[in-house]
């Protein structure tokens, strides 16, 4: 979640600020858990195809690590572009 939501809290009375902060924290926790679950699902589906062994093989582990790293970098980049669009910045085609 972007920090601009937090910036708007400063003008609120203390009790309301507290309530809004709790709301944002809960949303953040829920969002993190959801991302964790969906990342596991995606990387498992993309990286694990055979079940001759019950332990993760070296190639599978490498694939999972790369999948997760790529997704996190992707998510960061999407976040930057999303923020730009929210601010109404013009982007080149």
């Amino acid at each position: 979640m972007d920090k601009s939501m937090l910036a708007d809290l400063d003008s609120l009375p203390e009790a309301d600020k507290q309530r809004m902060t709790v709301m944002i924290d809960q949303l953040q926790i829920r969002d993190s858990l959801r991302m964790y679950n969906s990342l596991v699902e995606r990387c498992f589906n993309d990286c694990v195809d055979t079940f001759k062994h019950k332990s993760l093989q070296k190639q599978e582990e490498t694939c999972v690590r790369r999948c997760a790293e790529k997704f996190l970098k992707h998510s960061m980049r999407v976040g930057m572009r999303f923020a730009e669009l929210n601010q109404g910045a013009a982007t080149q085609d």
Partner: protein
């Protein structure tokens, strides 16, 4: 109990409710955009952990187009016209 709630307190409840829904919507929009663009732009063979140049370009364009589609559909739904 209704008589104990002042009008301004009721307004505040509605405002908080709307604020929460708005935040949930934005988070959900971001998540769907992220998932969709990852699926469309990133090679799922994961030959390396860095995003390559083509993937980066695709991601930027995907985000922009997804944003425009979101706004376009929002307009169509909001206008009350049945989808063509």
């Amino acid at each position: 109990m209704a008589s104990n709630i002042s009008p301004s307190a009721l307004d505040k409840e509605q405002i908080f409710g709307m604020a929460e829904k708005e935040m949930e919507y934005r988070v959900e929009l971001f998540n769907k955009m992220t998932q969709t663009c990852f699926k469309k732009c990133v090679d799922n063979r994961y030959k390396e952990s860095e995003l390559n140049m083509g993937e980066n370009s695709c991601i930027d364009r995907c985000v922009s187009k997804y944003w425009h589609v979101t706004n376009l559909i929002g307009q169509l739904l909001g206008s009350g016209r049945p989808p063509m």
